[in-house]
């Protein structure tokens, strides 16, 4: 089902959570709402779900105005940040809840309901744990229960609020890949909120970057990464170096070349301040001469050996790619 958000605004007292936000989501898409905290991404998600009311604007579900439809009737699956599992119910009963509270005439016969719930538990790889209680599960397992529970009611739209926020890094990466596969399997229009740019770029079809209640840019992961619309987007999507104090000229750490002699006029003289192996690459911190700025450069281990860098050594930093923005917006 497609979703259209039209000129939606929302204020909380003096705080503007969303101002005039419009967004189109195609049927079957997987969209990431990405932004720092307070950028309005969760508010937008909750307004789409119907958990929060917009002050102005409309929300359309598949060409039908759902702006004033009650959350009960919107047929959205919502996965809460801390899962909101029903602690007093077994995993099975958690997943079955949405099916059991249906009006009597729409309710599935018990055997059918049981097989549907069991199938969903198999889908999220928790078939063996149906009779356990939420407190007996790990964070990753709880997350999957929350997903199965949301999918049980066959939602038109799946909305996930920071779905992997509370998990450790390794489980997070596994679940990310798994969500991508699951989405390919069930093909439900999905929107998830995250503040982790890696997560957004890795699994979303399109990324919506938000800032201070507005949408800054919408595009495929490749588009937003390769051609950021503003310095904010550029800075938010990865580590950056501002190369000149007076101009919004930037380069990412892997776009900085360290050289022992000045090969061009724009090479910046600097001193090696710190060298740290970070896995596949080495992060070198360079203190710019006569300035309080630091440039971070990522070099390969081979390059590091070639240059034989030591702390305190005098070198030159040169940007292999330089990105200049006219709209000089400092990130908040």
């Amino acid at each position: 089902m497609s979703i259209r958000v039209e000129h939606v605004s929302r204020r909380f007292g003096n705080f503007t959570a969303l101002s005039d936000v419009s967004l189109e989501v195609a049927s079957g898409e997987l969209i990431a709402l990405l932004g720092p905290s307070g950028s309005g991404k969760t508010t937008l998600l909750r307004i789409i779900a119907g958990l929060e009311a917009q002050d102005t604007g409309r929300v359309w579900f598949h060409g039908r105005d759902a702006s004033h439809t009650h959350v009960r009737d919107r047929q959205v699956g919502f996965v809460f940040q801390h899962y909101a599992l029903f602690d007093h119910m077994s995993i099975f009963d958690n997943v079955a809840f949405g099916l059991r509270v249906r009006p009597r005439r729409k309710r599935l016969p018990e055997p059918e309901l049981r097989s549907r719930v069991q199938n969903l538990l198999e889908l999220v790889q928790l078939g063996q744990l149906a009779q356990r209680y939420p407190s007996q599960l790990s964070g990753g397992q709880r997350q999957r229960v929350a997903l199965a529970r949301a999918l049980a009611v066959e939602p038109q739209v799946l909305l996930l609020d920071e779905p992997f926020g509370a998990l450790d890094a390794k489980v997070r990466r596994e679940l990310r890949r798994w969500l991508r596969r699951l989405h390919a399997e069930v093909q439900v229009t999905s929107i998830f909120v995250t503040h982790d740019q890696e997560e957004a770029l890795e699994i979303a079809d399109r990324v919506v970057i938000m800032r201070a209640g507005r949408i800054e840019q919408v595009g495929t992961p490749d588009e937003v990464y390769q051609s950021p619309a503003s310095s904010f987007v550029y800075e938010f999507l990865g580590d950056v170096n501002q190369l000149q104090a007076d101009r919004a000229a930037y380069a990412r750490p892997h776009e900085i070349s360290i050289e022992l002699t000045a090969t061009s006029a724009d090479a910046i003289p600097a001193t090696v301040a710190h060298v740290a192996a970070r896995g596949a690459t080495v992060r070198v911190e360079l203190a710019v001469d006569n300035a309080s700025r630091v440039i971070e450069a990522d070099v390969t281990h081979a390059r590091l050996r070639e240059l034989a860098l030591v702390k305190g050594q005098r070198v030159f930093a040169r940007a292999t790619t330089l990105r200049v923005f006219d709209n000089t917006q400092a990130a908040e």
Partner: protein, 293 residues
Amino acid sequence: MPSAVLTTRVAAPGGSAHASQVRTEPLWARLVLIAIALGFLGLFVFAPLLAVFYEATKKGFEVYLRAITDADTRSALWVTLLAAGIAVPVNAAFGVSAAWAITKFEFRGKQWLITLIDLPFSVSPVISGLIYMLLFGANGWFGEILRSYGIKIMFAPPAIVLATMFVTAPFVARELIPLMQAQGKAEEECAATLGAGGFATFFRITLPKIRWGLLYGLVLCNARAMGEFGAVSVVSGHIRGATNTLTLHVEILYNEYQFAAAFAVSSLLALLALVTLVAKTLIEAHGFGGRVR
């Protein structure tokens, strides 16, 4: 150099063998604390309780039996049970509604409502009794109208029920508000996205989450409803066999120097309290049919 960075390791905090000793209090401190707790309970709870039963049966079991089966006592027991029987359920309904409204909705005057709920706690029970007198008494604001319709509230069971309800109003709400605030509303919101209506959400999600807090609030409320003296004393009129509660009956008997009978009736009150506690313990042990956490 990178290798230097990699080999730098933070020394692990040494010596975890003494950790358990570090965290536990020394033996003497534990003994002193336990002795204080038990000593206090013994001196101020068990001893008086024993004294009540001892004094009640001192003049023989027959006297005891006669005192508690006396018509006036039975009437007082009835009035007490009536007051508690009405006040506790009403209070449960009020407390849950108020706690729900305060914790799930945003509205103007919320702070006022919270303060207002505490009012019966901060006002002396005698004064709350007098307020009812002012409202419903013969010369009170509504006295005239009530008399013209032949409704008698003061010096009759309705006044006792009203006074009891007023005095016990905060118990359930006070217990539930902090609990429900801490629990948040994510589970209720989740139930709504799954299509659950208000009733299903309340009975299947909220009630199981707050049941222990509710039970505790009801036990406290019931204890106070049965034991209330001040407010009830003002509005009851002390009519024997009609508007006396157990507490008032005890006072009358005591003032008439019928000590054995006074203690016998007191023992009835103590028994009612024990029944409440046993009921609470049994429910806690066996749950409400759901899983006990």
